[in-house]
Subunit: 348 residues, 2 copies
DNA sequence: GCTTGGCACTCGCAGTATTCGAGTGCCAAC
DNA sequence: GTTGGCACTCGAATACTGCGAGTGCCAAGC
C-alpha cells in the first residue's frame, strides 16, 4: 500500500521536476497530481524516499530533486514509453524517406532526432564490420597505379590508390580482379579479410596455380590495401552530431556541464564510448549521470540504441542530454527513429 | 601630433580591453602603456574618440570599450600581424604534414586552427568549381548498372550509380568511356560540363559518327550524371567545424551570443556565407560585428581567407569569435594555416 | 594652444541587512 | 496510518549604503 504510493510520489516528483526544472515540494505535488492524500502524508513518504536515496534536497527547506538512483528507478519501473503521435510518425517518415544515400540517411536522422528530442543527437555511421562486400573494382589509372574501389552492402564506398612495382597489362589486371572478386564478394568483412589473405601465396613457396610474378605482386598489393581499408578504424568511428544549439537550454551551470559536453562532441571516440558498445538487437539503453564512463559528464544522461537491417545492430544512435530530461518521450523518439532507419536499411 | 596620439590611445584601449575583458580607464592606460602624457590628456583624447564613434562607455563613469568602428580602424591601420613563433610554425608543419588524404588535411586544419586561435574554426572543403577533372572511370556493376567514378585534381572522388535502359557490352562500354574521357579529362569543371554536353547528340538528329542506340543512350545517362555530380552543390557546401568548446570562454551573455552561434554552426549554408565569397588570391578578410550579414551574430567577428593550390582560392577557411578578440594573433594564425594548407595542396 | 593637476560629481558594484515565503519535521489528534 | 497544526529553517529577493574607479570641466602652466 504505502510502498505503492511512495512510488507514485517518486514518479510525480520526477515528472514535475522535469517539467518545471525546480525542486518540488509536498504542497505543489498534491495540487498538481491527484494522489488522494494530504501534503503531510506526502512529506512522510518523501522522507522515506530520501532515506532510501531516491531523492534529495538541494538545501534544507527546499523541495526535493530526484537523484540518479531515483531516475534509474523511474526509467526502469515507473515509466511507459510515450506513444508517438500520428503527426510525429508522419514527420519521421517524410523526412527520412527523402534520403538519397546512406550519408544522407545518417544526416537526416541526426537532425530529426535533435528536433524531436530537443537534445544533442548522435548517430554512428553504419560500421563496416558486420556488412558484406558487394563489389570490388580495380581501375588502372596509370600503368603502375591502380584505383581500388570497395563497395559494401551498407552502400558505403571506400577507394584507395595502389602503386605497383611493375606495369600490368589488361589480361593480368583481369586476372587479379577475378581472383579478388571470387575471394571477397558476398562475404562479410571479417570473412573476406581472411579469404583475401589466403589467395596471396606466401613469398618463396610458389604454388602450382600461382601465376606470373607481376600478377602476384599486384595481387599482394591490392589485397593488402583492401584488408587495410576493411579494418580501417576511421570508418568505424565516424559519427554525425546535431542539435548542439539545444545545449543553450541547459540553463544554469555552464562551465561545469556544457563545456565538457561540447568538448566530448568533438571527440568522436568519446562519443562512441558514450553511445556504448553495440550489443545484439535493438535494445534501448539509458545511462544516467554517474553511471557513465566519464566523471565530467556526471550531470548528463545518454539514451541510445542499436540499429541496422534485419535486427542486426550494425551501428548505434541516440541522444545526450541533462539527467533532468523527459525520459519517456526521449526514449520513444530514439526508438522510433532507430526502427525507421533500420527499415530503410532493410530495403536499401 | 594629437591625431597620432589619439590613434595610439585607441590602439592601447583595444589591446587592453582584449586582454582584460574590462572597460579601460584613463589612469590604467597611462600606467600600462608609456604614452608620455597624463591621464587628463588621455581623457581629452578619449572624449574625442568617443565623439568620432570609435569607443563608447557601457555606462557613465565606467571605462571605455571599443566599438565595431573602433575595431575596424584598429584592424585596418593600427595593427601589425603578430609573427608566428618558431614553435608555432613547427607545430603547424608537424600536424599538417601527417595528413594522409584531402579529408584528413581539412580535419587536421580545423583542429589546428581552433587550437591556435582558441576560437571556433571553420574550414570549407575544397570546392569543385575551380578544380580540374583528373580521371573518369566507368565500372559495370551489373548488365544495366554502371558505377561512375569522378576523380578531381583536388583529390576528391565522387561516385554515382547509373541505371541503363539496355545492357552494354564491353566494346560499347569502352567506347563510352573513351568519349567521356576525351571530353572531360584535364578540363576544369566548368569547361568539362559544356564539352560533355556537346558530345551527346541531340535526340532525333543522328550525326554521322554517332554510334548505335544503346551506346548513345548510355552516353547520355553517364553525361547527365557527371554534369550533375560536378554541379552538385552539396559538395561545394561541405565544411568542417572545430573548437566549439571554445565558446565556453564567451563568459557572460550566453543566450544572446552563444546560442545563435551554435545554431549557425550547424547550418553549413550560413557558415559558408559567413566565410564570405571566395575572391581571388589569398586576401585575409575580417568582418566585425554588424558588418556581417546576420543580425543575431552582431557581437561576433569572422576572420577568414581563401586557400588553394597555386594562389587560386578554391575554398575558404577561418574562425568565428567574439568581436573582442586578439585580431593580430588570430589573423596571423589564420593566414599561416591557409598558406601551409595551400602548399600541401600544391604538392599533392 | 596643447597639457596638466585639481576637483566635484556620477554611478555601478559589492557587501550587509531585512523581509518573505515555500518547504520541512515533528507532534498530537483522529 | 493519516492529517492538521505549528514552530523553524534558510535561500532568494529587495533595499540600503559606502566605496572607488572613472569622468568632465576648469583654471593654471609650459
Amino acid at each position: 500500500m504505502q510502498e505503492e504510493r511512495r512510488l507514485a510520489v517518486l514518479r510525480a516528483i520526477v515528472e514535475d521536476y522535469v517539467a518545471t526544472e525546480e525542486p518540488v515540494g509536498s504542497k505543489a505535488l498534491v495540487e498538481r497530481h491527484s494522489l488522494g492524500v494530504s501534503p503531510a502524508t506526502v512529506r512522510n513518504d518523501m522522507a522515506a524516499l530520501e532515506d532510501e536515496g531516491f531523492i534529495t534536497q538541494p538545501h534544507t527547506s527546499a523541495g526535493r530533486v530526484p537523484t540518479d538512483k531515483g531516475y534509474r528507478l523511474f526509467v526502469d519501473r515507473l515509466s511507459t514509453l510515450k506513444p508517438m503521435s500520428a503527426a510525429e510518425r508522419r514527420a519521421i517518415a517524410s523526412i527520412l524517406d527523402g534520403a538519397v544515400d546512406l550519408d544522407d540517411v545518417v544526416q537526416r536522422s541526426v537532425r530529426l532526432l535533435a528536433q524531436l528530442t530537443r537534445q544533442v543527437a548522435v548517430v554512428q555511421y553504419p560500421t563496416l564490420s558486420r556488412s558484406t562486400v558487394r563489389h570490388v573494382e580495380l581501375v588502372a589509372l596509370a600503368p603502375t597505379r591502380l584505383l581500388v574501389v570497395l563497395i559494401l552492402s551498407t552502400g558505403r564506398v571506400e577507394q584507395r590508390l595502389v602503386d605497383l612495382e611493375t606495369p600490368l597489362d589488361d589480361t593480368q589486371l583481369a586476372d587479379v580482379r577475378s581472383r579478388v572478386g571470387r575471394a571477397a564478394v558476398g562475404e562479410i568483412i571479417a570473412d573476406a579479410t581472411t579469404s583475401l589473405r589466403d589467395i596471396v601465396p606466401p613469398p618463396g613457396a610458389a604454388g602450382a596455380q600461382a601465376g606470373d610474378a607481376a600478377t602476384l605482386s599486384a595481387l599482394a598489393g591490392v589485397v593488402d590495401t583492401l584488408v587495410e581499408a576493411m579494418s580501417d578504424h576511421r570508418s568505424d568511428e565516424r559519427v554525425a552530431v546535431g542539435g548542439a544549439a539545444n545545449l543553450a537550454r541547459f540553463g544554469d551551470s555552464f562551465d561545469s556541464d556544457v563545456r565538457p559536453l561540447l568538448e566530448a562532441l568533438e571527440e568522436h571516440v568519446v562519443l562512441l564510448k558514450l553511445l556504448g558498445e553495440a550489443t545484439t538487437g535493438s535494445n534501448l539503453t539509458v545511462r544516467i549521470g554517474h553511471e557513465g564512463p566519464y566523471q565530467e559528464l556526471s550531470s548528463t544522461s545518454v539514451v541510445a540504441t542499436g540499429y541496422g537491417p534485419r535486427d542486426e545492430a550494425i551501428a548505434r544512435l541516440g541522444i545526450v542530454g541533462p539527467t533532468r530530461m523527459d525520459y519517456p518521450g526521449t526514449m520513444a523518439s530514439v526508438r522510433a527513429v532507430a526502427r525507421y532507419v533500420s527499415r530503410i536499411l532493410d530495403e536499401g
